[in-house]
């Protein structure tokens, strides 16, 4: 189940029926060399710290993940049941590659990592529903001197 052609028909049809609007404008931001960038992860995997409240259905809310997080501290409350969770249960880095990014940071391949990362629940919402909270997260990232975001779906 790695390509659409390998998926069961129901799953494939469901995915292809999702709304995929093309937004106005073509934003494009260039930045410094990779070894000078400050990077945050923004995930739509419904990740949260264990003590945080689970994600609500049909909500564009987000959770804050501290930059010091260890993968084992993360749990997942994504509301979709149509993807594998067993990989995440073994190793959070298959969804949230924090250890890999720390390796790049320690090798000076990237500049630094953000003080906080952010998680949304990417399901059951029209894409433009995320606009307001994305602007809020962008402001938080800029205040942390972040210039680059690694976006990770699930």
């Amino acid at each position: 189940m790695v390509r659409l052609t390998d998926m069961l028909e129901d799953d494939r049809n469901h995915l292809l029926a999702k709304p995929c609007p093309k937004f106005e404008g073509e934003p494009w931001v260039e930045g410094p060399p990779l070894n000078e960038r400050r990077i945050a992860i923004v995930t739509t995997a419904g990740l949260q710290m264990r003590e945080d409240a689970p994600f609500n259905f049909r909500s564009a809310e987000y959770r804050v993940i501290p930059g010091t997080v260890e993968g084992k501290e993360l749990v997942m409350s994504h509301t979709s049941v149509n993807f594998d969770r067993s990989g995440f249960q073994r190793d959070a880095n298959v969804v949230f590659p924090i250890d890999r990014l720390r390796e790049l940071e320690s090798e000076d391949a990237i500049g630094s990592l953000a003080s906080h990362h952010y998680a949304f629940n990417g399901a059951y919402m029209e894409p433009d529903a995320y606009a307001k909270n994305a602007q809020e997260v962008a402001a938080l990232l800029r205040s942390d001197a972040v210039d680059t975001v690694l976006l990770v779906p699930v």
Partner: protein
């Protein structure tokens, strides 16, 4: 993912993202995306394979120097198998009796399964040093009792009922999966087929998807139809029944 990429880039941040569903990315045209041919739920390909994860990460970050907009690149390799091929088909470390047909028996059957799985869950927790069972609101036994209560008249309704029931079910599924994975060699499909087709927990969730949809409560019905049973497992159950 593509929407967030657009919004964040519009706010002055450079973004590079992973794409799991290429047609979505083609339509929405985020600034930079790396399509990966991996299973949904595994955007970096393979658990416990740091070298492979790193290749995916470096390929995504390399897009920050690419252009012109929109950048959509393809990662060239499939994910490696995360477990060595087993000499024989994977099976859960313990065998359960067939799931009960009578809804009145399902709750007790789930509790019995939890008891049998508990030592394996403890072993998995020891070896992994972590669990994805949240465990903040329920013990797994309480989670099972909470979920089974919805087989009758729902004890609560509305949006918060859905969040609590979802939490209970997610904890139960994580407990079962982690316990069963104490015996290595299961693919994600093996694990999913076992949980949904062979356990009383799977039967509980299939049954709940029918009973909750008949409650008339909007939130419970929404969950029952859209976020209870994976489409692939519904299709397998239909095929097995026909």
């Amino acid at each position: 993912m593509s929407a967030l990429s657009h919004f964040l880039e519009s706010e002055g941040l450079s973004t590079a993202g992973i794409s799991l569903v290429r047609p979505h990315t083609e339509q929405m045209e985020p600034p930079r995306a790396l399509w990966v041919p991996f299973e949904l739920g595994r955007p970096f390909g393979a658990p416990d394979d740091a070298a492979f994860q790193r290749r995916v990460l470096e390929a995504a970050l390399a897009l920050l120097d690419a252009g012109p907009r929109p950048v959509l690149a393809d990662f060239p390799d499939d994910a490696p198998l995360s477990d060595a091929p087993a000499e024989e088909a994977w099976a859960c470390p313990i065998s359960f009796p067939p799931p009960p047909v009578d809804p009145n028996d399902i709750g007790a059957a789930v509790q019995a399964e939890i008891g049998q799985l508990a030592p394996w869950y403890a072993e998995a927790f020891r070896s992994r040093g972590r669990t994805s069972v949240r465990g903040e609101s329920f013990s797994v036994e309480d989670a099972a009792a909470h979920a089974a209560a919805f087989l009758g008249d729902p004890p609560e309704t509305g949006a918060q009922a859905v969040v609590r029931l979802k939490e209970a079910l997610e904890d139960l599924k994580a407990f079962y999966s982690e316990a069963a994975a104490a015996k290595p060699g299961a693919s994600s499909a093996d694990m999913s087929d076992w949980l949904w087709q062979e356990t009383a927990l799977g039967r509980l969730m299939f049954t709940l998807s029918e009973t909750l949809a008949a409650t008339g409560d909007e939130a419970l019905t929404y969950m029952a139809k859209g976020s209870m049973v994976p489409r692939a497992q519904r299709e397998k159950a239909r095929a097995a029944a026909s």
